[in-house]
């Protein structure tokens, strides 16, 4: 087998050195009762070409060449070529966690740059070297808030990504952490601040909101902060569309930012792998989960980077750790770092401006359901959700996400997303289909 670099004669030599006459003897010490005693019921190994063909066949079963208006936490943005060029380098792809700083300065330096850029982007003081994804960053932020405040309850907006809220519940339930939801305003699509005010108390560790929220709307972070801070809770601000930070004011009032970087040149890849981040204020640093890279010097006085503050982590603290997390998404975070470097200060703004323009063009033709200010996605009420999407599929267009699956009160609506990759012609087709369905059937040409 091409991945096993030993010839039979080399195996023979090694077995002899071990004082063993056959490979089976290496397992002789295993109790009989545990041994498999039969071959695995898996087909024999196949060639490289057959592997390529297998996945091509699967790809064909996915359909190809569709224009997509799906957002809802995962976005289709162009991936600059440099991203894959860089992450395909063996030194990045096949290296390990940088525990041995002397031979991992490549990884450590890029993580340090990553941490810096996330701080610049979010306006926070310190950022970690990434979490698994945005959805798991949320409960980590909630637990961080609980540790920092000594309080045990969490309030989360319904306009936070529904699957993120599900993950939060799974974690919170087992920490004995009550989670309560508060609503959104049916006119504006922004936070129902009265509902938040009503549900707020002195035992709340965190108020969790998202901006832009699941409906694509830039939400009322300042007002949420006022309510949270007024009762001694921390404000956790979540984002799923990182490109929005190219043009939207970062959440300065947040105590913790928990976000998803998939928009930064990370393939949608049917749900993962992605990279989440947690960024926070200096004073909560020691409660922060995940890896951190710090600047130092080597014994010759040269600037050098290393993993630091590891005493928060599982391999030292064990059951008192800030989290059980071991992996960070290093390679995925590197994709984001390359993306942020390629676009840079001007490019990210221009990219965000293009997204804004595309979505607002489409919104201008159909009427958004909510009046709140939106970035690159918005909600539209349509006559018949399933029919509309069926029609669009025939035109090789995947329509917006039907919201009924997450919000029963919005089952007459879809969430439409347009990015810099969305073509005007496709937006015209979608707008046309929505409008035609809205008008009575008597109107004919």
């Amino acid at each position: 087998m091409r991945y096993l670099p030993k010839s039979d004669s080399e195996r023979r030599q090694m077995l002899d050195a071990c004082g063993v006459s056959s490979p089976e003897e290496l397992f002789a010490h295993l109790p009989q009762a545990v041994r498999l005693g039969r071959p695995l019921h898996l087909a024999p190994g196949i060639s490289e070409y057959e592997i390529v063909q297998y996945f091509r066949d699967r790809a064909a079963e996915n359909g190809n060449g569709y224009a997509s208006f799906l957002g809802a936490g995962v976005y289709h943005h162009y991936r600059p070529v440099l991203v894959d060029t860089v992450v395909s380098r063996g030194e990045f792809l096949t290296s390990y966690t940088p525990y041995q700083a002397e031979i991992a300065q490549g990884t450590l330096t890029t993580i340090f740059e990553f941490q810096t850029m996330i701080c610049q982007l979010t306006g926070m003081d310190v950022a970690n070297a990434s979490m698994y994804d945005g959805s798991t960053a949320v409960p980590e932020a909630a637990m961080m808030a609980a540790r920092s405040t000594g309080k045990g309850r969490v309030l989360v907006a319904r306009s936070v990504h529904p699957e993120y809220r599900e993950v939060l519940l799974t974690y919170a339930r087992n920490q004995g952490m009550p989670v309560e939801e508060f609503g959104y305003d049916p006119e504006t699509g922004t936070l129902d601040l009265e509902d938040l005010e009503r549900k707020m108390d002195d035992f709340t560790a965190a108020v969790i909101v998202q901006t832009p929220n699941f409906f694509g709307i830039a939400d009322q972070v300042k007002e949420a902060a006022r309510i949270a801070h007024g009762r001694g809770a921390l404000l956790v601000v979540v984002f799923t569309e990182a490109v929005s930070l190219g043009i939207l004011e970062p959440p300065a009032e947040a105590d913790i930012v928990a976000g998803e970087l998939q928009s930064f040149a990370i393939s949608p890849s049917y749900g993962g792998p992605y990279a989440g981040i947690i960024a926070t204020r200096e004073k909560y640093l020691r409660q922060m989960p995940g890896r951190l890279v710090g600047q130092s010097v080597d014994s010759r006085g040269n600037r050098a980077f290393c993993l630091t503050l590891a005493t928060r982590e599982q391999h030292i603290r064990r059951e008192k750790a800030t989290s059980n997390i071991c992996t960070n998404q290093a390679l995925i975070a590197l994709m984001a770092t390359v993306f942020m470097t390629v676009y840079g200060k001007q490019g990210l703004r221009e990219l965000a401006a293009q997204n804004l323009a595309k979505a607002h063009y489409l919104a201008g033709k159909v009427k958004p359901r909510f009046s709140g200010p939106f970035f690159n996605e918005f909600v539209v009420k349509v006559a018949a959700v399933d029919d509309l999407n069926k029609q669009l599929l025939k035109k090789k267009i995947i329509g917006g996400l039907p919201l009924g699956r997450f919000y029963p009160e919005l089952s007459d609506s879809v969430l439409l997303c347009a990015t810099e990759m969305t073509k005007r012609a496709d937006m015209d087709v979608v707008a046309d289909a929505i409008l035609r369905a809205a008008t009575p059937k008597e109107v004919t040409a």
Binding site: T311, I316, K320
Partner: protein, 127 residues
């Protein structure tokens, strides 16, 4: 090496008391075991501590050690210099790098702790 007027615990803390005014720290042996200290986590002034309970922790790069209070009482002062210069704990653990000052609630507890000679014998045996 180990001041005569201190009392010592098996977990390598020391306490020096005059009446009910006590000062608590960790021993030279402890700082040696931990290596270069990078961070010290201390309780708030006013905290009530029971003998044997953790009052904070001391961190090196590779390890964290809880500090267990040798006596019960109320924390009256914490050593602010350790936040800026945790390394003092390595150079002067019995003097400048005291951790907290405490008002003892049960001075009789001191009698159950080790003397300097007993502590030296104890760490000698540990090796």
């Amino acid at each position: 090496m180990y001041p005569e007027n201190f009392r010592y615990t098996k977990e390598h803390e020391w306490v020096a008391a005059v009446g009910d005014a006590g000062t608590i720290g960790i021993t030279d042996h402890a700082q040696q075991e931990l290596g270069d200290i990078v961070y010290v986590d201390l309780p708030k002034v006013g905290t009530h501590i029971e003998q044997g309970r953790s009052l904070g922790s001391v961190e090196s790069v590779k390890a964290v050690s809880d500090v267990y209070s040798p006596v019960s009482g109320e924390v009256t002062e914490i050593n602010q210099t350790l936040a800026e210069k945790p390394e003092t704990l390595n150079s002067d653990p019995h003097g400048a790098a005291w951790l907290v000052k405490i008002k003892l609630s049960a001075p009789a507890e001191l009698a159950g702790l080790m003397s300097a000679a007993e502590y030296e014998a104890y760490i000698g045996a540990e090796k």
